[in-house]
């Protein structure tokens, strides 16, 4: 276990920011609880209030924000990793690269040079270890990033290619593109994938505020507990959004969890047909049905964020 001093160092490094603008993240342990719905509506709400928002869709295995916003993905850029390319002229057959690869991706036949057979994750350890400099770099595409702009809303989307494992690298590439783009945005809003694994942690880096979304069902309560614990480990304070609040389940348990972790429930959204309709039309509910109960709630969150970070 890491001591307190080291933990502080790690967290400081984890959350170090490149851009000097506020970052707000929307996350949740369980899938389908409405993370994307809430993220796009907060983004649209802030844009309506006159703020320029960069929305980062970091659910790179299932990016849906553009669908819900009715925005076409534009300006694709490839994300590549480097896999080894053996120079037979320089290779002496020492096999250091084969032995050093912890994924056992390289194979040394009895004759000839090592061949790449397994799933290379682009760590480049083999290239660093080769004493002859015989391993060159060959680009392998693992995903794409996109930037689309509509009015005051900039949408940054990351997409992992099928059957590729390195989703966290796509999140990193997406953040790098956002930071390098000089967006002129007033605020970054991050929509993470469900769960608690590395690409979620990567997406939460540097967040000034985190909204954890859940539903009051048994599963929602269970997964929320794990998300809140993760946020605690990462030193992030959180607000809670209870979506589909009229579904049956252990509501008291969620309220108690929130109290115990000092995370208050900032808003409750009922099951709302108008929200579903708005997704199908590709228009945020706050714009399409501004008076719907959910829209009023989500606009209020946007206002809270603006008050806190954009004054």
């Amino acid at each position: 276990m890491v001591d307190a001093e080291l933990r502080d160092k790690i967290l400081a490094a984890l959350h170090r920011k490149v851009l000097d603008i506020p970052v707000v993240a929307v996350t949740g342990g369980k899938g389908g609880v409405g993370k994307s719905t809430i993220a796009i509506n907060i983004a649209a709400g802030l844009a309506e209030m006159g703020h320029k928002v960069a929305l980062m869709d970091a659910d790179v295995e299932a990016p849906d924000d553009h669908i819900m916003l009715g925005i076409t993905l534009e300006k694709p850029l490839d994300i590549t990793i480097n896999v080894p390319d053996v120079d037979a002229g320089k290779c002496t057959g020492c096999r250091i690269c084969v032995d050093i690869c912890r994924r056992n991706a390289l194979f040394q036949p009895r004759e000839g040079v090592p061949v790449l057979i397994g799933d290379c994750n682009g760590c480049e350890a083999c290239m660093l270890a080769c004493p002859e400099g015989a391993l060159g770099k060959e680009g392998k595409k693992i995903g794409e990033t996109y930037v689309s702009e509509r009015d005051r809303l900039l949408l940054f989307t990351g997409k992992l290619l099928p059957a590729i494992e390195e989703s966290s690298m796509v999140v990193s590439a997406l953040r790098d593109r956002l930071c390098a783009s000089g967006t002129g945005a007033d605020l970054v809003l991050v929509d993470t994938s469900p769960g608690i694994h590395c690409n979620v942690i990567n997406a939460l880096r540097g967040a000034d505020a985190v909204y954890a979304v859940t539903e009051p069902t048994t599963l929602g309560a269970h997964d929320l507990e794990r998300t809140l614990k993760l946020l605690g480990i990462l030193g992030l304070s959180s607000h809670l959004i209870l979506n589909f609040s009229d579904l049956p389940g252990p509501r008291e348990k969620i309220a108690a969890m929130a109290r115990a972790l000092d995370a208050e429930i900032s808003c409750e959204l009922p099951v709302d047909e108008q929200v579903l309709k708005s997704h199908v039309e590709g228009v945020p509910a706050v714009s399409m049905f501004p008076d719907a109960v959910s829209s009023v709630c989500m606009r209020r969150i946007a206002e809270d964020i603006a008050t806190e970070y954009l004054q």
Binding site: L14, G31, D59, A62, P194, H197, C198, L219, D223
Partner: protein, 301 residues
């Protein structure tokens, strides 16, 4: 023995509820192992009142550790790391463990020999029984990584248990998305059930997970869950299926009985057998039987 894996791309479309109900239906006539590979959010046990019979810690993660005493502060390791897992703090490298893949690139370039790669525990696997059915469930330790390797281990234990009870079927509840844990969940399986719901987002994610299913050349079928939620999107799903010639195994109605059953710690097919959703689950079980069990070895040899 056959293994059926349930995936969806999008989260929250009902993978676990379907896995649990399928389990409840199949365990009446077959020997079944249920495997929960959604290690980020393992929920399958929440449908059954069962206590773990056995629990073990899994060491399926490798991480670098930097010895501050030996470190000379050259920062070569920071440059070498392709996973942004080493940052600089007060002119010294600091490992951000969440992103370390344990590849060892940093230890290769370190001139002071200050970096070691060590195995670390990253989760546990619980085994519990409901009568003669076994549930194997993996849980990623919070803040840990390498979920794919934990999934591999869950699948290995599930196969061991299946061998022990001479099971006919392993039902594997998969993780959402298309990344490493999903790939691990699909590996070595016999049949894939792809769950979707009639919303544009779920349809888009169904397409993404199908790219992975096709990549591995696995036979599969689709379940439309929460049917009736939005009829126009349902026709889009049907277009997708026709275009790609994928069978629809069943449509399961949008039904409040599903969360109500879960609140009672039961699969809907068991708690409310006459509910519309339960009837859909039974049709699904029938289609799965036909697809994977009917002409297999379970009847005799």
């Amino acid at each position: 023995m056959k293994e059926v894996v349930i995936v969806s791309g999008k989260g929250g479309v009902g993978k676990s509820a379907i896995s649990a109900s399928l389990g409840a239906i199949f365990m009446k006539n077959y020997k079944v192992v249920l495997a929960d590979t959604d290690v980020d959010a393992p929920n399958l046990n929440l449908f059954f009142s069962s206590r773990p019979r056995y629990s073990k810690v899994v060491e399926a993660s490798e991480k670098a550790s930097i010895d501050a005493e030996k470190c000379e502060g050259c920062l070569e390791c920071v440059v070498a790391c392709r996973f942004s897992a080493i940052a600089v703090s007060a002119d010294a490298p600091v490992l951000i463990p969440y992103f370390c893949e344990g590849c060892g690139a940093c230890s290769i370039v370190c001139p002071a020999g200050a970096i070691e790669i060590n195995s670390e525990s990253n989760g546990n696997i619980d085994i519990s029984d409901i009568d003669s059915t076994v549930i194997v469930s993996g849980e990623l330790r919070i803040g840990e990584s390498s979920s794919g390797r934990l999934v591999d281990e869950v699948k290995r234990v599930a196969k061991e248990e299946a061998g022990r009870i001479n099971a006919d079927l392993i039902i594997t509840d998969g993780p959402p998305g298309t990344g490493c844990p999903v790939i691990s969940a699909l590996k070595g399986s016999d049949y894939v059930i792809a769950v979707t719901e009639p919303t544009p987002a779920a349809l888009s994610d169904l397409g993404a997970v199908y790219d992975v299913i096709r990549h591995f050349g696995l036979p599969s079928g689709i379940v439309i869950n929460k049917a009736g939620l939005h009829p126009a999107s349902e026709s889009l799903i049907r277009d997708f299926i026709i275009k790609d010639d994928i069978p629809i195994l069943a449509a399961i109605s949008y039904d409040i009985s599903v969360p109500e059953a879960t609140a009672r710690t039961m699969p809907v097919a068991e708690a409310y057998p006459d509910a519309p959703a339960s009837k859909g689950m039974i049709r699904l079980a029938g289609a799965v039987t036909k697809a994977v069990l009917s002409h297999s070895e379970i009847s005799g040899d």
